[in-house]
C-alpha cells in the first residue's frame, strides 16, 4: 500500500531496514513491559515494608499507652519523633486537638489514610519540632478514653524509588530506540552497498564485459554465498560462450574447405562439362560433398545438444555390461573383417546412471576411432571393470589399441572438435567422433583420459561412484 513509492527513500524499502525497525518496536515494547513489571514489584515491596513498619510502631505506642496512660504515650511520641528514620506520629484528643506528634489532624475514623502536608498548614498547626513530609500514609487507631493515635510514614521515599525506576527505563527505552534505529540504518546501508555491488557487476556484464565477477568478502555469509553462486554461474556462462565462439570458429574454418570444394566442382562443371554424363558425374560429386557437409553439421548439432545438458533429465540406470557387450558384438565382425583382433573383457553386472543411447554412441565412436587409426593386425581391447573395491566402486570403461598411438603432447587435444592427428589427415573422418565422446563423458560427469597404452592409445572413462 505504497501511495508514492518514488518519493519514499530507497533505504526505507530495504528488507534489513524494515527488520531493524521491527526490532526497535519490539525492543521498545519489551522495555515497557519489563519496566512496568519492575515498577509494580518494587512499589509493592516498598509498600509492604512501610505498612509493616507503621504497624510495629503503632503496636509499640499502644503498648506504652496501656502501661503508662496518655502521659507516657505523649512522652514516647515526643522522644521517638527525633530519629532520622523515625516515623511521624500524632496523638489527638477526641475533639481533634493535637496532644503530640507532627502529623496533621486526622479524621476520627480507624484505618489507613493518606495525608498531605498542606492539611497541617491549613490547620494552623505548623510543626515546631520538625518538618512534615509532603505525602504520608498513616494508620489511625482509637485508644481507650477517646484518644486517637495516628502513626504514619513518608510516602516520598517510595515515590523516589518509583521515579528512579521510571527514569532508568525511560533512558533504556530512548537509548534502545536510538541505537536500534542507527544500527538498522547502518546495517541496511552495508547490505545495500553489497547488493549494489552485485547490481553493478551485472550491469557491467550486460554492457559486455563477461570477465567481471562479484567481489567476495570472505565471511561466508548468505550474501557471500549468493555472490559465489552467481560467480560460478557467470563462469559457466563464460565457458559456454567460449565454447560457442570456438564452435563458430571451427565451423567457419572446417566447413569453408568442403564448401569451397563444392563451389569448385560446380564451377568446373558449368565451364567445362560438355556431355550430359559429365554433368551427371559433377552433380553426383556435388551431392556427395553436400552430404558430407550436412553430416558434419548434424554431428556438430548433436555435440551441442549433448553439451546443452538437457538429456540429463532422462537419465536412468543403464546396464553398462550388457551395453558394452552388445556394442562390442556389433563391432566385432567389422573389426575382424578389417584384419584386426578384438578382445573384450567385460565385468558383468556393472551399471551406471545415464543415457543408454548416448553411451552406446560413445562406445561406438571409441571403437570406430580405434579401428580407423590402427593398421591391420592391431588388437583392439574393450574393457569394463569396477575400480576401487566393491563398495563405492567406479565403473571404468576403456578402449585400447596397440597401434601407433598419439604423441603425449597431443594426447589432450584429441577430444577437441575437428582435431586430426598429423598421420591421420588422410584417413576419412570428420574429426568430431572423439569430440562427441568428450561431450557425452562430460554429460555423465565421467572422467575421460587418453593414455599411452605402450604401444598404442588407451581411452579411459571412469564414471562417478554410485
Amino acid at each position: 500500500m505504497r501511495l508514492i513509492p518514488k518519493l519514499e527513500p530507497r533505504l526505507l524499502r530495504t528488507a534489513s531496514f524494515r527488520l531493524a525497525a521491527a526490532y526497535v518496536v519490539l525492543f521498545a515494547a519489551s522495555t515497557l513491559v519489563l519496566g512496568g513489571v519492575v515498577f509494580w514489584i518494587a512499589s509493592d515491596a516498598l509498600n509492604q515494608q512501610l505498612r509493616a513498619r507503621i504497624l510495629a510502631e503503632s503496636a509499640a505506642l499502644q503498648g506504652e499507652y496501656r502501661i503508662g496512660g496518655l502521659d507516657r504515650l505523649v512522652a514516647a511520641v515526643r522522644l521517638g519523633g527525633r530519629g532520622a528514620a523515625a516515623l511521624d506520629d500524632r496523638v489527638q484528643a477526641a475533639d481533634g486537638r493535637r496532644l503530640a506528634g507532627t502529623l496533621p489532624r486526622v479524621a476520627p475514623r480507624p484505618g489507613w489514610v493518606d495525608l498531605e502536608a498542606g492539611d497541617a498548614r491549613a490547620d494552623g498547626e505548623a510543626d515546631q519540632t520538625g518538618e512534615v513530609p509532603e505525602h504520608v500514609r498513616a494508620l489511625v487507631t482509637q485508644l481507650p478514653g477517646g484518644v486517637w493515635l495516628a502513626v504514619g510514614d513518608d510516602l516520598g521515599r517510595i515515590e523516589e524509588v518509583q521515579a528512579t525506576i521510571l527514569g532508568a527505563f525511560a533512558w533504556a527505552l530512548g537509548l534502545g530506540v536510538l541505537l536500534g534505529g542507527a544500527g538498522g540504518v547502518l546495517l541496511s546501508r552495508s547490505f545495500l552497498r553489497r547488493v549494489d555491488t552485485i547490481g553493478r557487476t551485472a550491469q557491467a556484464i550486460i554492457a559486455g564485459d563477461l570477465t567481471q565477477r562479484i567481489p567476495l568478502r570472505g565471511t561466508g555469509d548468505d550474501l557471500d554465498r549468493l555472490a559465489a553462486t552467481l560467480n560460478r554461474m557467470l563462469d559457466r556462462i563464460a565457458a559456454l560462450m567460449d565454447s560457442l565462439r570456438q564452435v563458430s570458429a571451427d565451423v567457419a574454418h572446417d566447413l569453408r574447405t568442403p564448401l569451397a570444394r563444392l563451389v569448385q566442382t560446380l564451377d568446373t562443371a558449368r565451364r567445362h562439362a560438355a556431355t550430359p554424363e559429365a554433368f551427371r558425374a559433377a552433380l553426383d560429386t556435388a551431392a556427395e560433398e553436400t552430404e558430407a557437409i550436412l553430416e558434419t553439421f548434424a554431428a556438430l548439432l548433436r555435440i551441442a545438444q549433448v553439451e546443452g545438458g538437457s538429456r540429463r533429465a532422462g537419465f536412468r540406470a543403464v546396464d553398462l555390461s550388457a551395453l558394452a557387450a552388445s556394442v562390442g558384438e556389433a563391432f566385432a565382425p567389422s573389426i575382424e573383417a578389417a584384419g584386426h583382433r578384438f578382445v573384450a573383457a567385460i565385468t558383468p553386472g556393472v551399471s551406471v546412471r545415464g543415457d543408454g543411447d548416448l553411451l552406446a554412441n560413445l562406445l561406438a565412436n571409441l571403437l570406430d576411432n580405434a579401428l580407423r587409426h590402427t593398421p591391420a593386425g592391431s588388437t583392439i581391447r574393450l574393457g569394463l571393470a569396477i575400480e576401487g573395491g566393491a563398495e563405492a566402486g567406479r565403473a571404468a570403461l576403456s578402449v585400447a589399441d596397440d597401434g601407433p598411438g598419439v604423441p603425449a603432447a597431443e594426447r589432450a587435444r584429441i577430444f577437441d572438435r575437428f582435431y586430426r592427428a598429423e598421420h591421420s589427415r588422410t584417413t576419412p573422418g570428420s574429426g568430431l567422433g572423439l569430440a562427441m565422446v568428450a561431450a557425452i563423458a562430460e554429460l555423465h560427469e565421467a572422467a575421460l583420459t587418453a593414455e599411452d597404452a605402450g604401444p598404442g592409445l588407451r581411452v579411459r572413462l571412469v564414471f562417478p561412484p554410485g
Binding site: E295, A330, F331, D357, A364
Partner: protein, 228 residues
C-alpha cells in the same frame, strides 16, 4: 499407396510429391497444419508425411490431435531439427517414425512402405518364406531348402526384418534402429559386415542369391524369379 504430405516449404513439398508420384503413389498435399488436420481425418490414407514445423498448427500438435480423435493412420515426421530429443518427442506425440532432413528419397520410401504394411500387433507370428528360405520367428529357426541354417542372434534379427519386408528395400539406418537400437551413425560398416556374414550362411553352395544390395538405398530380400 494413398499418401498425404503435410509440408509448408514449397520446394520440399514439390520434391516429395514428384518423387512419390513417380513411384506410383497417389499423393495429396496440405501446405498448413490446419488444412492437413482437416484432410488427415479422412481414414482413406495409408500413411501421413508430416513436417514438424508448420505454420498455424505444428506437426506434433497435429498428430496428437489426430490420435485423440481416434485416427490411426501411420504418421512419419520430417524435421530439420535433427535433435536427439526430437525423435522421442515425435514418437510420444503419436508419430510412428521419424526422418531428419535432409534425407535420401530411398530412405523415405522404404520407411513409408514399412509403416503402411505394418501388420497388426495382434497378428500371430507365422513362418516367413522367400523362395526356399524359411524363417520361423517362434522357434527362431531358419532353413534353406530344408537344411537348417545356424545364425547368430543379430543375423537372425536382420533376416527377420528383411523377410517381413520381402521385396522392399530396408535401409541401413532402419536395420541399425530395429536390430541394434542404435539411433546414431556408428560410421563403422557394421551393417555391411553382418549382411555379408548372413549372405555367406544362407547363400551357401551356389544357391541363387536372395539378399540384394540396392546401391545408395539399402538391402532387400526376394525370390530369384520375382521382380523388384
Amino acid at each position: 499407396m494413398k499418401l498425404l504430405v503435410i509440408e509448408d516449404d514449397a520446394a520440399t513439398a514439390a520434391y516429395l510429391l514428384r518423387g512419390l508420384r513417380e513411384h506410383g503413389h497417389v499423393v495429396d498435399h496440405a501446405p498448413t497444419g490446419r488444412d492437413g488436420l482437416f484432410l488427415a481425418e479422412d481414414p482413406g490414407y495409408d500413411a501421413l508425411v508430416v513436417d514438424r514445423m508448420l505454420p498455424g498448427l505444428d506437426g506434433l500438435s497435429l498428430v496428437r490431435t489426430l490420435r485423440a480423435a481416434g485416427v490411426k493412420t501411420p504418421a512419419l515426421f520430417l524435421t530439420a531439427l535433427g535433435g536427439i530429443d526430437d525423435r522421442v518427442a515425435g514418437l510420444d506425440a503419436g508419430g510412428d517414425d521419424y526422418l531428419v532432413k535432409p534425407f535420401a528419397f530411398s530412405e523415405l520410401l522404404a520407411r513409408l512402405h514399412a509403416l503402411a504394411r505394418r501388420p497388426p500387433l495382434a497378428a500371430p507370428p507365422s513362418v516367413l518364406r522367400v523362395a526356399d528360405l524359411e524363417l520361423d520367428p517362434r522357434r527362431r529357426a531358419v532353413t534353406r531348402g530344408g537344411i537348417p541354417v545356424v545364425l547368430q542372434p543379430r543375423e537372425f534379427q536382420i533376416l527377420e526384418v528383411l523377410m517381413r519386408h520381402a521385396g522392399e528395400v530396408v535401409t541401413r539406418t532402419m536395420l541399425l534402429e530395429k536390430v541394434w537400437d542404435f539411433h546414431f551413425d556408428p560410421r563403422t560398416n557394421i551393417v555391411e559386415t553382418h549382411i555379408s556374414r548372413l549372405r555367406g550362411k544362407i547363400d551357401r553352395g551356389g544357391d541363387p542369391e536372395l539378399i540384394h544390395t540396392v546401391r545408395g538405398a539399402g538391402y532387400l530380400i526376394r525370390a530369384p524369379d520375382s521382380e523388384a
